[in-house]
């Protein structure tokens, strides 16, 4: 226990406490001093608070790693230097394409992309609906003097109103069901892939790759089951479904910082890597001394020399020249030439 406390990262702990505290203040304000808070959702609230604390802690620990910090620092330096609107446009466009639509999955397989998009869209919409509801930020009331018109309030302010029985009402009240269908379809596709493809089977493991899919399916099926139970089955097994749904959602929330779902939080770093590459290209290319060809940005190679040294690797000679100035092909050829020299020195090309 003492060792566990000693191993905790001070900066990350402080940041996690600060962010969680800020979130609690926002819950208090957004729910109008808890008057709009839905007490039935209290277990979800505790799960979310733990998730926010854990996510912030892990994210801060992760940022402190030298290569991550270098990209984070450079990303902001590049973003804030000069053409800020041009950068804003580039970042927004890339965020929509890569985070919103996950376009990089498409070349790996059309159905893989569709299934991933279904899961991602389903999860993001479910987060966007349930988190504000859990925090008491969103609540629904009848319009004053009416039992026909329903109003949605956000942070206590009216946002929209709609007639009960309208298509808007149907779509809004069942929004989480649409998310569930998408998540189930996407998860089943990936589950099938993980159970049938030999390459995936060889490198996957249960807790990192199969369990997240099973958990998503349990959450979505029990969530859908709640609607079906009260609408079509006279409340049959409602308590069982409600408890199973709550437990599975809370496991999901608590597990975000530790498992596969952390990539939802981590992935936007890809946008930082893209702007780093784009701006680096304008600053100049690195030329391999062996092939004589450009192979990367000079910014990247120079930063990598700093990062590798910080991590305890020194690829430099005493004269200051660095092995990292060679392109990957240059490195392979240098190795082959060194091998040839050793063989020639021995007098036999083949041993």
């Amino acid at each position: 226990m003492i060792q566990f406390v000693k191993n905790l990262n001070g900066k990350a702990l402080l940041t996690a406490f600060a962010v969680t505290f800020l979130m609690l203040i926002l819950i208090f304000l957004g729910s109008r001093n808890l008057q709009n808070f839905d007490a039935a959702l209290i277990t979800y609230l505790f799960g979310t608070i733990f998730a926010v604390f854990g996510i912030t802690y892990r994210y801060t620990v992760w940022l402190q790693r030298p290569p991550t910090w270098m990209y984070f620092k450079r990303g902001f330096q590049i973003f804030l230097k000069g053409k800020i609107f041009s950068h804003l446009w580039f970042v927004s466009k890339q965020a929509v394409l890569n985070i919103g639509f996950q376009k990089f999955v498409y070349p790996r397989g059309k159905f893989r992309w569709l299934a991933h998009f279904f899961i991602a869209f389903g999860c993001v919409t479910a987060f966007a609906i349930t988190i504000p509801l859990t925090f008491g930020w969103v609540h629904f009331v009848f319009a004053p003097g009416s039992f026909e018109i329903y109003e949605a309030h956000f942070f206590g302010f009216k946002v929209i109103e709609f007639n009960l029985g309208s298509i808007t009402a149907f779509m809004t009240f069942h929004a989480l069901n649409w998310s569930s269908y998408l998540v189930i379809l996407g998860s089943l596709y990936y589950l099938r892939r993980r159970l049938t493809q030999p390459g995936v089977i060889a490198t996957q493991n249960f807790e990192s790759d199969l369990l997240p899919l099973i958990l998503l399916i349990i959450i979505s099926v029990t969530g859908l089951g709640l609607t079906y139970s009260y609408q079509f089955m006279k409340g049959f097994a409602f308590d069982f479904l409600a408890v199973t749904h709550a437990i599975s959602v809370i496991i999901f929330l608590i597990w975000i910082p530790f498992g596969k779902f952390f990539h939802i939080i981590q992935r936007p770093a890809q946008i930082g890597a893209l702007i780093y590459k784009k701006e680096g290209e304008e600053m100049g290319k690195a030329v391999c001394p062996h092939t004589g060809k450009e192979f990367d940005t000079k910014l990247h190679i120079d930063d990598l020399k700093i990062v590798t040294k910080e991590l305890g690797f020194n690829f430099e000679k005493a004269d200051g020249s660095s092995y990292l100035d060679l392109s990957p092909e240059g490195k392979r050829s240098t190795l082959a030439k060194a091998h040839l020299d050793a063989r020639l020195k021995d007098g036999n090309l083949f041993g």
Partner: protein, 190 residues
């Protein structure tokens, strides 16, 4: 990785790039590896095309302290209990190419359309069930060999397997061996 693992630690990988004849059979075989999704991960390139037709072949050397994994800003590369350094985790890799440029053996490839790093993982779909990597099963000249230490000693009596490489001030030790003149302890590359 899969719990019913049959990885055979007595079988090791031995590379002798002077034996590479540039036939590229290994490239085609590599693309059959199920873990790569039909992408070839092995590298065959001319050493110095202006002066010689010599080619070299390069598989992942599976470093004991893999610099690719350590410079990865997204924690996407992992090494397992058998010393296999795995290709980037698809959901974590952000396609930054740190590993591509930091690897002293020039192994990881960035697949631009996937925005993903991919590399040789010693045909884990095969080695994890006791089979040999695809490239080593098709190499006609013995540049790539996968077998026991006794077998390679008998086949190459004038050579010693070496897995220690010097790059500037850095000494890198690996799981994969390069066949060097008998009695060699290391290979100074740079």
């Amino acid at each position: 990785m899969s719990s019913d693992n049959l990885y055979n630690p007595s079988q090791e990988f031995f590379v002798d790039m002077q034996r590479c004849i540039g036939c590229r059979a290994c490239e085609l075989a590599c693309a059959e590896c199920e873990t790569n999704g039909q992408e070839s991960m092995i590298h065959v390139n001319y050493v110095d095309r202006a002066h010689t037709i010599q080619t070299t072949v390069q598989v992942c050397m599976h470093c004991d302290d893999p610099v690719c994994a350590i410079v990865c800003p997204a924690d996407a590369i992992s090494k397992d209990e058998y010393g296999i350094v795995h290709s980037a985790n698809t959901e974590r890799c952000i396609g930054c190419s740190n590993c591509v440029q930091a690897c002293p053996f020039g192994v990881p490839k960035k697949e631009e359309s996937y925005d993903l790093m991919m590399k040789c993982n010693m045909c884990y779909d095969r080695t994890s069930i006791g089979k040999k990597p695809m490239c080593a099963t098709v190499c006609p000249s013995g540049a790539l060999y996968f077998g026991t230490r006794e077998e390679i000693t008998e086949m190459r009596p004038r050579s010693t397997p070496v897995n220690s490489f010097i790059f500037g001030e850095e000494t890198v030790s690996t799981k994969v061996f390069i066949m060097m003149p008998k009695g060699s302890k290391e290979l100074k590359v740079f």
